[in-house]
């Protein structure tokens, strides 16, 4: 654990990883805490710890992340990255939570228990990237038609669907 804390401090330079340290101090395991190019803290956690971490971040008095801006994912060839943008309307700060999922049968717990907003955002992620959200109340396609084949935002998606034939005229 101490190694990890050293790593965080080195990564940060002058910016202290506030939320990463807070999570460590409350004995919630995180994998790393880095900063994105626009100085927002990114906390990487394992997907088993997601519910625990989000529960902590939503209710702890120093974090109070009460708004979920978006749920999205990115196909990184070897794995999927699921990305949550959180914001606190009370303390006016923001954080990004990231988890990593396997390429085969990607499944993760749904956040609909914490944020109603997660409902449609998770449906969108399921629609475009095919990530299954467990315990989601209504996991259907949202933007694409129900009978669409494949998940377009995956990098191995082949764009030769017969319904796209008008595009090649």
């Amino acid at each position: 654990m101490s190694n990890l804390e050293d790593k965080i401090v080195q990564n940060m330079g002058e910016n202290p990883a506030i939320f990463g340290k807070l999570l460590l101090n409350n004995s919630i395991e995180i994998q790393s805490s880095v900063f994105s190019s626009d100085k927002t803290e990114i906390i990487c956690i394992s997907h088993e710890n997601l519910l625990k971490t989000v529960d902590f971040l939503k209710h702890h008095i120093e974090t109070r992340f009460d708004i979920l801006f978006s749920v999205t994912a990115s196909d990184k060839f070897e794995f999927f990255e699921v990305i949550y943008h959180l914001y606190s309307s009370i303390l006016k700060h923001k954080v990004i939570v990231k988890t990593i999922l396997d390429k085969i049968n990607p499944e993760i717990h749904s956040l609909t228990g914490f944020y109603q907003a997660a409902d449609w955002h998770e449906r969108e992620t399921y629609d475009l990237l095919g990530i299954k959200f467990l315990n989601h109340p209504d996991l259907r396609r949202i933007l694409l038609p129900d009978d669409w084949k494949g998940y377009p935002l995956r990098k191995n998606y082949i764009m030769n669907d017969e319904r796209l034939i008008w595009n090649r005229r």
């Binding site: 190019s37 943008h85 109603q116 449609w120 933007l143 038609p145």
Partner: protein, 405 residues
């Protein structure tokens, strides 16, 4: 028979069998192509199922096969009524990856155009909202002023709707000669014109009857669903990224975030009218403080000065338009990721860009405020009479291309 719905409509006048009605996708009052499947019990809406996706153009997939500069004009089309905000959020995200610091003159021009865009977007909303409620004349009032703003934009960018005016590191060209005078005249005129709208709308008894205490959005519900912008501020939550997030140069201006506390349709109207007045205040301050001053003055001063000093008021960095001319073909931001949060006219537009160090973005994610506004619609209109549907849905200011992307 007792009152089943709690809305004061007598139960014995209602039909007992529920009826399913399909509204849209092509329907004039859905502001685009939204489909609603509504379960009616007499006049009362029992359940609602919004169906979206009819305008899905795959904006996120298109980004992956285009270079950054090829994708830039497409960004306008995400929300055609407030193009500048989309451009700004994509530019801010890419700029923070590429670590381009924007000159202050470009930032000021961005703020001026964004605030004008906010007014024109709110005017469009005002026109269509009151048209939904059956009032025709506000449309002509609102379009009269919107036309003047659009003419300003046409003068500046050459386009009336899809501006494509910002580029990475700044803006594409300077203000044309005489533009500042036109903008100042318009700013002087605007508050009186807003008074005109208020004179015909605000105390109109029919308008009050149809919007007061209708579609009440509690702050807890709004936050739970991720509603942002004027819709949330009408419920009394003070969340304005221009105040707290300090993107661009908003911290240099004196303005208030407009709040109302009931969260009904009327409050959403009141907040937007107040926001237009605040935008005028910001534009006036921005024009006054514009680094380098008017383009005519800047041209002469720069020719006379020619000192090439970094801190010079006229030929220094801050009075430039673009930070660094980037090569349009070979523009490659380094590996990294960034999110930009922009307070657009409808709420918070979030653009998340992942770059893998090549010419094309690896992943672009758009989070748009209207998406959440459509999601909360069933909460607001269930157990209300059918006639309230448009009074509630119209007040949320949903633009469908933005929902579907």
């Amino acid at each position: 028979m007792k009152d089943l719905s709690g809305t004061g409509v007598r139960g014995d006048l209602m039909l007992t069998e529920e009826m399913i009605i399909n509204i849209g996708p092509q329907h004039p009052s859905t502001h685009g192509v939204l489909r609603l499947i509504i379960n009616l019990n007499g006049e009362i809406i029992k359940s609602t199922k919004p169906v979206i996706g009819y305008l899905h153009r795959g904006m996120e997939k298109l980004a992956e096969s285009r270079s950054y500069y090829q994708y830039l004009p497409m960004v306008d089309r995400i929300d055609y009524l407030s193009s500048f905000f989309n451009l700004a959020s994509f530019c801010y995200a890419v700029e923070s990856i590429a670590e381009l610091k924007i000159p202050r003159r470009a930032e000021y021009i961005r703020v001026i155009t964004m605030e004008f865009n906010r007014i024109s977007s709110h005017l469009m909303w005002l026109a269509s909202f009151l048209l939904d409620l059956g009032a025709t004349s506000p449309l002509f009032y609102a379009f009269r002023e919107r036309e003047e703003i659009i003419k300003l934009f046409e003068n500046l960018t050459g386009a009336r709707m899809m501006y494509n005016y910002y580029c990475f590191g700044g803006v594409k060209r300077d203000l044309p000669e005489g533009w500042i005078k036109q903008a100042q005249d318009l700013c002087k005129k605007m508050p009186k014109l807003f008074d005109e709208y208020e004179a015909i709308i605000t105390n109109n008894p029919i308008f009050l009857e149809r919007t007061k205490n209708i579609g009440i959005l509690t702050p807890e519900k709004g936050i739970e669903y991720g509603i942002t912008g004027p819709n949330l501020r009408a419920s009394g939550v003070d969340m304005d990224l221009r105040k707290t997030n300090n993107y661009s140069v908003y911290n240099e201006f004196d303005f208030n975030s407009c709040l109302a506390y009931n969260g009904d349709s009327y409050d959403r109207y009141a907040v937007r009218i107040a926001e237009m007045r605040e935008s005028i205040k910001i534009i006036e301050q921005a024009i006054e403080k514009l680094p380098g001053g008017s383009p005519e003055k800047l041209k002469i001063k720069r020719a006379n000065c020619g000192c090439k000093n970094e801190n010079c008021e006229y030929c220094g960095y801050d009075s430039q338009l673009v930070a660094k001319r980037v090569n349009l073909v070979a523009f490659k931001p380094p590996k990294g990721e960034a999110t930009s949060y922009v307070e657009s006219s409808r709420g918070i537009t979030l653009c998340y860009v992942q770059s893998d160090g090549t010419q094309k973005p690896y992943r672009v994610k758009w989070r748009t405020p209207s998406f959440s506004a459509v999601q909360i619609l069933p909460e607001l209109i269930n157990n209300r009479p059918y006639s309230d549907l448009m009074a509630i849905f119209g007040s949320l200011d949903v633009v469908l291309p933005e929902v579907d992307r």
